[in-house]
Symmetry: C2
Subunit: 309 residues, 2 copies
């Protein structure tokens, strides 16, 4: 391992923040010395591959331990915070938009991989053998190359690499392949519709009109398919998007709540606090502080580049 | 490199011969000390990845040089022979049935990879940089694991690995992605039909009846799409299959010619000789000798297994 001081937070790469909500796929490499406990939420599903160090993640209301040779999967729109107990905590990050994964053949049968797992289930991704763990890291490196270059067949290569990663994770988690026809397909379509139309009217009546299904059929089957209440899901998508807008812009709370689809500012404020435990203004302040801390460290990819994984 | 005497021909693995015509995918690892010049033909497309040594291949009427860090692609049903100039010539082999590749989404747009290339084009696969070459070898190793085990999502993993390999090769060859709609699709369907129904009547009139196209439309477009005369293609599929039957069975030439779809023994004999330069009986004799030579060497995968690529 090279000089540890060289390891740093490359979350400040210029695209990182946008990526969390709007990029199909994004890879990062970072190492933190302090366990910044900022609350965090985004549309993308986040996968962390721990190379060194350790800590705790809180996702929704559950605690997860991370350590060397472990992978942690955080479902899209699930609020999470972290605390590092062994620093630096050096890890690769892979974020992928669920709607993008859903659009990919074969991978769309393995979407159960890309959600927050129960702590028991998540244990299957701890203490992974070196061969398997290094293979995943090598896929991350190749994805890094692909997302940075404009190679021939780049989209197809990203697809191949993601499919490989998906099956490795699915084997570790020992999940069943999903039948993607029928009601599952319809519910996925509704979920994707919410992801892209969060700023519009998403009442059950409106969704019912668009998808030709009874409101309570939608509500019942959405919960059955994704183990989430559809209204909570809509709120979480709106809050995730609000967070990204907040990070990038100076905007009034009234305007912000409208931009992400709320008719009532009060509902927006209540939902934001429910997700992140703080108000939008407090979040903005914390984020500025976080960015400043992160900005003090330098990027790491270049150093590792020499290693030729 | 371990003791070279340990490197040997693992073409005598029990499935190798069957694999060449009937397995979707098969991987091998072999090293020959002598340049056995046996003429060879099979349905599968064969990819050779040269690790050490060198030699010459003759494919149809063209000469190809192989050497370290080179890949040679031999199109399905193309007769070929070899002569090693630097022994042992140690190489990984990947054989894939064209009809199988054609059935795989995305890969079916890159079918131009899986044919015999002109010697100029084939030069692009010589002297490949170590990183890229090792990545391909690592894919071969993973394919080996997948085709040997019964892992969860095995078919999907093989697909991911083949897609990755396909795009790497396509980048090296700098080929265009194929539009797989319209006439290309129809011609591929006809080609696959021939691959599976070689024992039946494949006259242009019969194909015309099955595919609702004028005989000369089929004939013209088949040549345009695959750069091969459709009747020559039919002969080459029949001869490839005859060769496999011959290797495995004691069968009369009359019976053999019928089994692979010939009404006339003379046509069969003429086509066989045109493909392989010898008669079926001479081939059988040569093959027995070849098998005996190969049987004296042992398999290599097990030795390499320890290396954990």
């Amino acid at each position: 391992m090279e000089n540890l001081n060289e390891f740093l937070n490359c979350y400040n790469e210029k695209d990182h923040s946008i990526a969390l909500n709007n990029r199909n796929i994004y890879v990062s490499y970072s190492g933190d010395y302090k366990g910044n406990p900022i609350n965090h939420v985004h549309n993308s599903c986040e996968l962390l591959f721990i190379e060194q160090g350790g800590g705790e993640y809180k996702i929704r209301d559950q605690q997860y331990h991370i350590e060397k040779n472990g992978v942690l999967i955080i479902g899209g729109t699930d609020p999470h915070s972290r605390r590092f107990t062994q620093v630096p905590c050096i890890r690769y990050g892979l974020t992928v938009l669920p709607a993008f994964l859903q659009s990919l053949p074969v991978i769309n049968s393995y979407m159960n991989v890309y959600r927050t797992h129960s702590p028991e289930e998540a244990n299957k991704l701890r203490g992974i053998d070196d061969v398997t763990f290094n293979r995943m890291v090598s896929i991350i490196w190749q994805l890094r190359e692909e997302t940075k270059d404009n190679g021939q067949g780049k989209g197809d290569m990203v697809y191949a690499l993601l499919l490989e990663m998906t099956i490795i994770l699915n084997r570790l988690l020992q999940l069943e392949k999903q039948d993607i026809s029928g009601m599952y397909k319809t519910m996925s379509d509704i979920k994707n519709y919410i992801d892209f139309h969060y700023a519009e009217n998403l009442s059950l009546e409106e969704l019912s009109r668009i998808f030709y299904l009874q409101p309570n059929t939608i509500s019942k089957n959405f919960r059955k398919t994704f183990e989430k209440n559809i209204n909570s899901y809509i709120h979480s998508v709106r809050v995730s998007n609000a967070v990204r807008v907040l990070e990038k812009n100076d905007i009034s709370i009234t305007e912000l709540s409208e931009v992400v689809g709320y008719a009532s500012v009060n509902t927006f404020l209540r939902q934001f606090r429910e997700s992140l435990g703080i108000s939008p203004l407090q979040y903005k302040k914390q984020f500025e502080q976080y960015k400043e801390d992160a900005g003090k460290t330098r990027l790491t990819w270049d150093i590792r580049e020499k290693k030729k994984y």
